[in-house]
Structure formats: C-alpha cells, structure tokens
C-alpha cells in the first residue's frame, strides 16, 4: 500500500507546490490540520445558519417562516452537520497539528492516508447538504435516522447514508493514523505515562472511533439495503424490528458523544496547568479516568431508549451504569479544580474558555444524571430538557474547549499573538448568549415542550423568545471569532517560542510559527 511508505518521501522534498495544488496534495500534518480546522469552521457556520432558522421559526408560536417539513429537515441536518462536520473534524484538526508536535514526531505516521482522510470530507459534506435539493428534500426524521421514517423517506436519505459512510471512513483512517503515530513515533524517552494529556485523550478517542464507527457503518448499510434491496432488518412486515436499529445506533451513539468530549478534556487539561502555572493535579488518575469513561461509555447506550420499551431489569442496569460514568467524570472535574487551587492564575482567553468549560460542562453532566434516572427520563425524554442537556455538554463543553484550544495554540500556528481584548469579548459574549439560549430550555423541557416541533403551545412563548434572542446573539458573536483569527493570521505582536510562560509541553520548544517540518531530529525527553 502506497500510503504506508510515503511519509519517508514526504519530508525529503523541501520544495512543495504552491497555491491550490499545495492544499490538494499536501501530506504535511500542519497543512492538513489547517484544512480540517477551516472545514470545521465552515461547517459550523453552515449548521449555525440552520440553527438560526430553527430559532427564528420558534421565536413566536405558530408557523411563520418555514413549513413543518422543512423545519424537520433543518433539525436533522443541523445535528448531522454539527456532529460530523464541525465538532469531530475540529478535533482531528487539533490532533493533526498538535499530536506530532507534542510527542516530538516529524509528521503523522501515514502522510498520504492523512491527505485522503481530509479530502474525503468535502465530498461527503456536499452529499449531505445536497440532499436538500433531492426530490423529497433532506432527511427529516432527526439526526438519529430512526426507522421506520428513515426507511420511507426520499433519496435524500440515501445521499445522507453515503455521506455517513464516507465521513466514517475518513474518521477511521484518521484514527488509525493517530493511534499509529502515538504508539510508534514518540520521541525517545517519552513513555506513555509521560505523554501530554491531550495526546492521551486522543489515543483513547481514536480507539473508540475504530471500535464504534464501523458499527454505525453497518447500521446505515442495513438501512440502505432495507430501503433499496428488499432486506428486512428493520422492517416489521418482513420480520425485522425498528427498535433493533435504536440499539445498534446507540451502541455507536453513546461512545460517539464521548468521542466528541474526550479530546476536549485533553485540551482543557493542557490549558489549565499552563495558566495556573502548576503541573496538572493527579496526572495518572486523569489517564485512568479517561480510560474508564471510554470503557463505561460502551455499556450505557440504552439510556437513550428508556421509553422505547424495555424490561425493568434493563432499565435499572442502564440507569446505574450511566450514573457510574459520573464518577470518573467527577474525578476529572476535581483534578482541574485542584490544579487551579493556589495556582498563580492569569485569565487570558484560553483560560477563560477552559474555566467556562468546567462550569458549564459540569452543569450539562448534572442534567445528564437527571436524564439517567428512569422515572424522570420518561417525563423528559424527547423534550427540550434533553436539548438543554446535550447543548451544555456539546456547545459549552466540546465547542468551548475548541475555542480555548484555538486561542491557546493560534500564536504557535501563526507566529502572531491574537487580539486579547477581542478574544475576551468573544468569550464573554459567547458565555452570556449561550446561557441565555440554553438555560431556559431546561424550563421548557420540564414544562413539557417536545423537541423537533415547529410550533408550540402559548405558555412556552416567553422562554422561546428569550432562547431565540440568545441564539442570534451567540451566532453573531462567532463572527467575532472569525475576525480575531483572520486578524491573527494577517499580523499582530510577534509570538515568542514559549508564548505562555507556563507551557511545559514540547510544542513550546519550537519557534513560532512552528516550522513546516518540526522535529526532524527527535528531541530527548528527560
């Protein structure tokens, strides 16, 4: 396989093509990381436009802006685009940039394959978004694509299935690359237990990805054959069972939510020690906690199905197993807090996002535990309470960590300091509008407002209006981030190699901006 041997050549030639060809053919981990991050940001804005359309419709009761069918397509595609297009590629982008630099490797293990894993994404995104223009429109049954709806929909569903196949292949290739790089290409002296936590969390995430992504691929393949080739996996008439899809889907789905949060844990675990100017509290317990979260995440899937029909013993098992996850998660929150305890803290933008993360992610974890309690979940399942829960863990969790990480490493990537004042504005605006949008959704959910509905009863009007105002504020604040990043790429105060005085990991030993080829000769770790 050509991909295997290419990396030897990749850094042998120093004359790389320029312009478009540079990006199309690049096998350099930094170029590819950059492309992942830009792709992710574009998808973030695309999914954001869908979210704002949804919130505009929900601004008032009644149907004003979009018809219900299109509304359902928007909620479905918003979820798929944000998960597969924005959050996951962003973390892979971070891994591409940071993993080789943090372990002292010259590049990723399979440079050619790395190029492929990225370039599979744009066609997949086009397929996914193109489904809007297919007869019957985009899939409208929710991002979880449950049958029977997903078996009955138009060809937009087939396009989505192919898009999921391609994005899954991309993730698996990316993960294989990351695992191999971490296992085989660490600088001499860097034992596993000396690796930065970001690298550890990504190693575990990558294993989770190769574990569950193929299962999702299997599930959507079964959907595809049910739709087009007369099989009956999920078709009740032919002896199949739609509830089985939910089991297979969530066997992937729950680990997937941890795939989206473990790298965030890693980023926060790098930022907090730097700005508290203290080593991370309880390094090894952090590693073990991450691993136990990953393992536990594989046996809790049916907490998404408490109302789908399940024996009481099953409900009890999945309830207790889910609550158990809160224990290692609590260990992590404790360790971050303990790292800050009596540290000499400063509050630059990355630190603000990291602290915001700790507060709000924990809140999302708490509402998760509430959802895990079967009798309560039977009330709140498929209401806005669940929406609030997972936006607290995904937006103020995963996304805030991505912002924090971007501010943290931007000086290393671009060689310039970003505009600190504007960065802080970005944080405070995001913080305020995020809570305005999503905190009230807890109340809506508890009062019984169902999710995925374009219209609602009058008593929900006030909170929905608040939430919509928050959403537009949040969306506009993200344009500020775009501005700060562009400004930082164009110029700004020259960044030193160390950038932050407390940074202890290997990337801070490289000059800023990091040279095209880093660590041709491996650094030695004492």
């Amino acid at each position: 396989m050509a991909a295997v041997h290419d990396h030897d050549i990749a850094h042998a030639h120093d004359h790389h093509p320029t312009g478009l060809m540079r990006w199309l053919t690049s096998t350099n981990h930094k170029d590819i990381g950059t492309m992942y991050l830009w792709f992710s940001f574009i998808m973030f804005l695309t999914g954001g436009v869908m979210a704002l359309t949804i919130r505009a419709e929900l601004f008032q009761p009644g149907i004003q802006i979009v018809n219900p069918e299109f509304f359902n397509q928007l909620t479905t595609l918003h979820g798929l685009v944000m998960i597969f297009g924005a959050i996951m590629p962003a973390f892979v982008g971070f891994a591409n940039w940071q993993v080789p630099m943090m372990i002292g490797a010259p590049d990723m293990a399979f440079a050619r394959m790395n190029n492929w894993s990225f370039w599979l994404l744009p066609p997949a995104a086009l397929l996914l978004l193109g489904s809007f223009f297919a007869p019957g429109g985009a899939p409208a049954g929710g991002w979880t694509i449950y049958p029977p709806l997903s078996v009955q929909m138009g060809m937009g569903m087939d396009m989505t299935i192919f898009a999921i196949h391609i994005m899954g292949a991309s993730s698996i290739m990316g993960s294989i690359n990351i695992i191999t790089t971490i296992l085989n290409m660490r600088a001499p002296g860097m034992t596993l237990m000396k690796m930065p936590l970001f690298v550890w969390t990504w190693l575990i995430t990558a294993y989770l990805l190769v574990l569950v992504m193929p299962v999702l691929a299997g599930a959507v393949t079964m959907l595809l054959t049910d739709r087009n080739f007369g099989t009956n996996f999920f078709n009740a008439a032919g002896g199949g069972d739609p509830v089985m899809f939910q089991h297979i889907f969530w066997f992937f789905g729950h680990p997937e939510v941890y795939i989206m949060i473990l790298p965030a844990f890693g980023i926060v675990s790098e930022i907090i020690p730097t700005f508290a100017r203290k080593p991370l509290f309880g390094y090894s317990s952090m590693v073990y906690a991450t691993a136990s979260i990953a393992i536990l995440s594989c046996i809790v899937w049916a907490h998404h199905m408490f109302t789908a029909g399940m024996p009481v013993t099953g409900q009890l098992f999945f309830m207790y197993a889910t609550m158990l996850i809160a224990v290692p998660t609590g260990v992590k929150v404790f360790n971050w807090t303990a790292t800050m305890w009596r540290g000499s803290m400063t509050f630059e933008t990355p630190m603000l996002f990291a602290i915001g993360f700790i507060f709000l992610f924990t809140l999302g974890g708490f509402s998760g535990v509430v959802c895990a309690i079967v009798p309560i979940d039977i009330q709140v399942q498929d209401t806005y309470y669940v929406i609030a829960h997972f936006h607290y863990v995904l937006v103020s969790g995963a996304l805030f960590a991505i912002f924090g990480g971007a501010y943290y490493w931007l000086p290393k990537w671009t060689g310039h300091m970003y505009d600190e004042t504007l960065g802080k504005w970005h944080f405070w605006l995001s913080m305020f509008f995020f809570n305005l949008t999503f905190f009230v959704q807890h109340f809506l959910g508890l009062a019984g407002m169902p999710r995925r509905i374009p219209d609602y009863a009058l008593q929900f009007a006030d909170f929905n209006m608040i939430s919509s105002i928050g959403a537009f504020g949040f969306g506009l604040s993200q344009l500020l981030f775009l501005y700060v990043v562009l400004k930082c790429i164009r110029g700004g105060a020259k960044a030193s190699a160390e950038v932050w005085e407390g940074g202890k990991t290997l990337e801070w030993t490289l000059p800023s901006p990091a040279p095209y080829h880093s660590f041709e000769t491996p650094p030695v770790i004492r």
Binding site: I176, V215, L216, A237, G239
Partner: protein
C-alpha cells in the same frame, strides 16, 4: 524493525479490527433476535399459552376496540365488529375479514399493535391470523378469527384498549425471514 515497518504492522492490525467491528454490527442482528426469543420479549407473532385457572373478573368490563389497516397492498381488511366488551379473564373470539381486490396472488403478513402499550403484557392471543403469512388468491375473501383473553392483571384504570393490525405485503423474495418465525410457532 524500523518505524515504517512497525507502522504497517499497526495499520494492518487496526484495519483487521475495523473489519471485525463492521461484522460485529451485523452480528448484533441475530444476537438481538436471540435475546428477544430467550427473554420472551417481542413475541407478537407467537401463540401464548394460558395459565390453567384464569379467573374471570365478572365485576369489570373492558372495551376492546378493533382496528385494521393495510400498507402498500391492494387488500380490503376490516374487523366484522368494531369493538367488543369483555370481562378480564374471559376467552373471546373476534373475526376479521380480508379481501384481495387484485388479480394476482399476494402474500401478506399482519403485524399487531396495542394501545395502550401496557396491553401487550396482559393480552394473551391463543389463535391469530398474524401467526403465519396469509396467501390470498386473486379476488379471494377470507374470514379469520382471533382468540384472545385479557388477563385480570390489567390495571383497573384502563377501561378501553385497542388492538390494531396492519397488513404488509411480502414480496416472494422476502419470505425467508418469516419462514423462520413460522418454524418457531
């Protein structure tokens, strides 16, 4: 072993693992069916057995509404009575009628559905046309009985329940999975 070789070893192992996990996704299908069978969940298409001394609770009435639907096949399908009143514990028989309005032979399978969901636990079907596939010749009309009882354990706040059937067409290539079900009966 240099790094490149070591890398290809890891690559190969992970690729094999990926393929295994893809297969595992499909292996979940028979696994799921087995679990349902062993635990007795989801046995909508099998006859129930009766505990011997079922008491008839003559003090209570439950109204059973009967519903019939077809999906994607040219059959006319209806219960001969739209509802029956029964005592919990009392063995009851109702009759459904189905008519093939087309000029071809069609295989159909009826799938039951209960409302409220809880009824599933307390409804015992001794005989039902849904236990096997129905083959109707062109223009054939058939009357089919359902024999059932509702256990006295049905919570007392439930006075009306619905039993609904939907007929789906089975293509000739689709029958394999159902034959398996038929064997189990």
């Amino acid at each position: 072993m240099n790094v490149t070789e070591a890398n290809s070893v890891v690559l190969r192992k992970l690729l094999i693992f990926t393929v295994i996990m893809f297969g595992f996704g499909f292996a979940l299908v028979p696994f799921y069916e087995k679990i349902c069978e062993v635990t007795g969940l989801n046995n909508l298409l099998q006859a129930d057995t009766l505990a011997e001394n079922t008491q008839v609770d003559t003090a209570r009435w439950v109204t059973v509404e009967l519903d019939a639907n077809t999906r994607g096949l040219p059959w006319q399908f209806k219960p001969l009575q739209s509802s029956v009143r029964v005592h919990p514990g009392e063995l009851t028989q109702v009759v459904y009628e189905v008519r093939n309005n087309s000029d071809r032979e069609i295989n159909g399978q009826a799938i039951p559905s209960y409302s409220p969901q809880l009824l599933g636990k307390h409804l015992k079907k001794l005989e039902c046309f849904c236990f096997s596939k129905q083959v109707l010749k062109p223009r054939e009309v058939r009357q089919m009985p359902v024999q059932f009882l509702i256990e006295p354990g049905l919570p007392t706040d439930i006075n009306t329940v619905t039993i609904s059937y939907t007929f789906f067409e089975l293509g000739n290539d689709n029958t394999a999975s159902l034959d398996i079900n038929a064997d189990q009966i």
